[in-house]
Symmetry: C2
Subunit: 514 residues, 2 copies
């Protein structure tokens, strides 16, 4: 039973019917059944209108004081707070994630916190790195980059949502309007968030094109949008295939695009750590690897161990724990198919199945918790296929001959969001740590000790980034304020400009250097 009219889109400050190419419905991944709400895939004319409205909003926002941006972000956060249960319930229907604790108590709380942190950053211009050189009468500061298109992922329907998540908060706090594309798996969640955003924008007097939402667009319209001259930048979180297609289009015209794509997040467990606390590490790894059915960008998908009895014992215990753990719901049929294909690719590349690698024995989209293994030699021979991201509840163990081989194997790792090293507390791994860390740290955005990678704190020190293919550029982070805001800025310099014509932040009397 579907609705008869597709949900209106939010363009230029109005909820109005889309120019519809076709319609779609999301489904409930816990049951595999279609949900009733009908959503439009927009024609280019919708996107065109939204881009023009965003460009107009951008001109109006260019010198908007941080106090006004903060006011909007806080009003939006308050609205999300007030409708928390409705939002969590809607998101749960579309994602299969539990309403509590995951959606209402963790992810929505984080989302609201991000908006409030971004508001606080908007109030303090120091993150814009103002530099005033009185000797030459030149000054510079980071300024908003322009209308920003945000494509959110499936796996965090709130905290990374295009109309409410980290990219949205960072882009707006930096002074940019956002044109969000809803994820096709949770359009009703996006609609509800956009209603809150729109109400907050109206209440705080933001220009009509500040927040806009489109549910779907043709693939070629997506690439056209990210290369449009009216756009300032784009941000994308999702699959490598979709990300690369957008990147290709944006790069061709020198349009900044920030991408978070695939990451297998290597975890190295040094022999001393295994000897000291194998059971503890089995528990930590299982929890981290199966959390959210493994659908975290920072899921530990690749574990390096040194061969021997301790490692065999560890893998046996891990396999038992995987087999005994419930198989969670995957976000969509596509996620399930993708996981199956990823596992098959890894197996074809030489990995053997320790446990899992088959459909789960339950309703909805689910796959059995999977543990695979290869030798270090195999890994080094076929590193690309063996680093296939099998997105979901699957882990590949790489067992190398000795500690000397660890650094060699790690040299074949592509760029990742995170890399973890477990070492003994008593110092017996310390002779091996430096060689491993030296190779790993330049290949990841965040290096961890004795801790699994799945927690991504919204800390000013966080880096949720890393070398390609984890992201498109290792200088930037998508989590952590105010650092993530710098992505949505251009460097603006004023040379001999008359003082009263300067932006407020450069009119201040205190000179900054550096």
């Amino acid at each position: 039973m579907a609705d008869t009219t597709p949900s209106p889109v939010l363009i230029a400050g109005q909820w109005r019917q889309a120019k519809v190419v076709k319609t779609f419905q999301a489904d409930n991944p816990a049951t595999g059944q279609k949900l009733p709400a009908l959503f439009p895939v927009s024609d280019w004319s919708d996107i065109d209108e939204a881009l023009t409205a965003a460009a107009e909003a951008f001109e109006a926002m260019l010198d908007m004081p941080g106090t006004k941006l903060a006011e909007f972000l806080r009003a939006y956060a308050d609205k999300l707070d007030a409708r928390a249960h409705e939002i969590a319930t809607t998101a749960s229907e579309e994602t299969g994630y539990p309403v509590k604790p995951r959606l209402q108590e963790v992810e929505l709380v984080r989302t609201i916190d991000q908006l409030r942190q971004a508001a606080a950053c908007a109030l303090d211009p120091s993150w814009r790195l103002p530099v005033i050189d009185r000797k030459t009468n030149i000054c510079s500061v980071l300024e908003p980059i322009g209308p920003t298109a945000v494509f959110g992922p499936n796996n965090f329907p709130l905290a990374f949502n295009g109309i409410a998540g980290g990219d949205f908060a960072a882009a707006v706090a930096a002074g940019n309007p956002v044109l969000a594309k809803a994820h096709s798996s949770h359009p009703a969640t996006c609609r509800l968030l956009a209603r809150c955003a729109h109400e907050a924008a109206v209440a705080t007097g933001m220009p009509p094109g500040t927040v806009q939402l489109i549910y779907g667009m043709k693939r070629e319209d997506g690439t056209r949008m990210v290369s449009d001259p009216r756009l300032g930048a784009a941000a994308f979180t999702g699959s490598r295939t979709a990300g690369m297609s957008l990147k290709h289009a944006a790069d061709a015209v020198g349009k900044p695009i920030y991408l978070e794509m695939s990451s297998v997040n290597p975890v190295v467990i040094l022999p001393g750590a295994l000897a000291e606390r194998a059971e503890e590490v089995v528990t930590e790894l299982t929890t981290s690897a199966l959390m959210g059915t493994g659908q975290f960008c920072t899921n530990p998908g690749l574990v390096f161990l040194v061969e021997g009895q301790a490692t065999e014992g560890f893998l046996k215990a891990l396999a038992e724990k995987y087999a005994a753990s419930p198989c969670g719901t995957l976000l969509s049929k596509g996620t399930m198919t993708g996981l199956d294909e990823g596992i098959q690719t890894i197996v074809k590349a030489g990995a053997s199945v320790v446990t899992g690698a088959k459909p789960a024995d339950r309703a909805g989209y689910a796959w059995s918790n999977t543990l695979l293994r290869v030798t270090g030699e195999q890994f080094v021979k076929n590193p690309v296929a063996l680093q296939t991201e099998a997105f979901g509840n699957a882990t590949l163990a790489v067992v190398v001959k000795n500690t000397g081989e660890l650094a060699k194997a790690l040299r074949h790792c592509e760029g990742n969001l995170t890399g973890c090293i477990y070492s003994a507390k008593d110092g017996r791994d310390d002779e091996h740590y430096p060689a491993v860390a030296k190779v790993l740290r330049t290949r990841v955005g965040r290096l961890l000790n004795d801790k699994m990678p799945t927690g991504v704190a919204v800390s000013p020190a966080m880096n949720h980034g890393g070398p390609f293919p984890a992201t498109g550029h290792p200088h930037f982070t998508s989590v952590g304020l105010p650092a993530s805001m710098r992505r949505f800025t251009r460097l603006a310099c004023y040379d001999n400009v008359r003082p009263h014509r300067l932006p407020a932040v450069l009119r201040d009397t205190v000179a900054n250097k550096g």
Copy 2:
């Protein structure tokens, strides 16, 4: 008369014969005659070896203290100082620029100053934006990005040289080895600079792959190099065609590449400024437009004026001044051909010739000082062709109907390094300034008032950057320390890492926030 043996390349700390694909000689643009020194175009095996040496140097430099980087940069600066006249003479032969003041007293002084400023920045880690969050035990800091390939341009044989200029200084001060590709028009200058760099590296005990020089490579090897996994990043200054070819290859594998390509640097002269000081502006524009025979990245190639008698008088005076000024030497035959083609493209797109647009009546590579004009209507109809960069001593004036049309015409401007607005000192242009500035500022890296764009001060507040096609990303600058160093960094985050394993800058006791 050519040498019989090609000049050795500098790879892995050794001057050695190249694996030669073919050889080339530079010529003296003032005479059009070939210079005797013979230089090799290297085979891929040379580049391959250099990349491996650079990767090894990078691992050795990863935690190198800033004091050591500064020591090297200062030793290098001292060596350039000591051989100033030899360097300027060599560069003059290859570029046609005068030894004094341009090369020895201006450009080399700037080059040495950049190296010393970079050394000072290497000593103070605050530019790395360290953030320590004690609550979560997470910290982050900008760290070197990896071996950096630098392609210098023809027009600044010292200050932007791949082995001595701003990109080199910034990359090394940020902690990266540099693999430079000499410009084919001034290889002997590059060789001399590389000798100084190498001597300084040996004297200060830097790893062998810290500074390397290759004179030429096949086009396909250039694209292969910028996408090689061993490389951290590339920096290129030069033509849009060559830059885009490298960008395409680097982008495909998510490898950072910083480009400075084409810029026509719009100058808007408001009616009040013209009424007040037309003669002064004619002089300023002539000086700026013909300086270095117009071969500055920030050359004012596009001038916007409002139609009327004052503008006609201005253009007449300007044309007379252009015609009366000596025609300078162009850097190469290719530059001359390119200028001719650029002028022809602009004329075909509707511009009329006010003066010039023909070969200069003198020896060597030279073209007559050229002034073209179109109406605002024509510009808006054909903005792409009319923004062709005619690199050299040519200027296009765009005459719009009235002040209201200025902002409309400027909306058709592509990204530029600079944008200038001349307005009356007595305030009579103030009603028009905001609308013009609002459009112009988001399309340029540096906005100037009452000043021509050709001076690019090495100030910490400088932005020598801007939206595409001026560069590949509007967030970054290639001039201005320490900002330009940030290009050659990745964000590195440490989560729960044991304190003694952290980089020194994060072990400090004072917490930073933001």
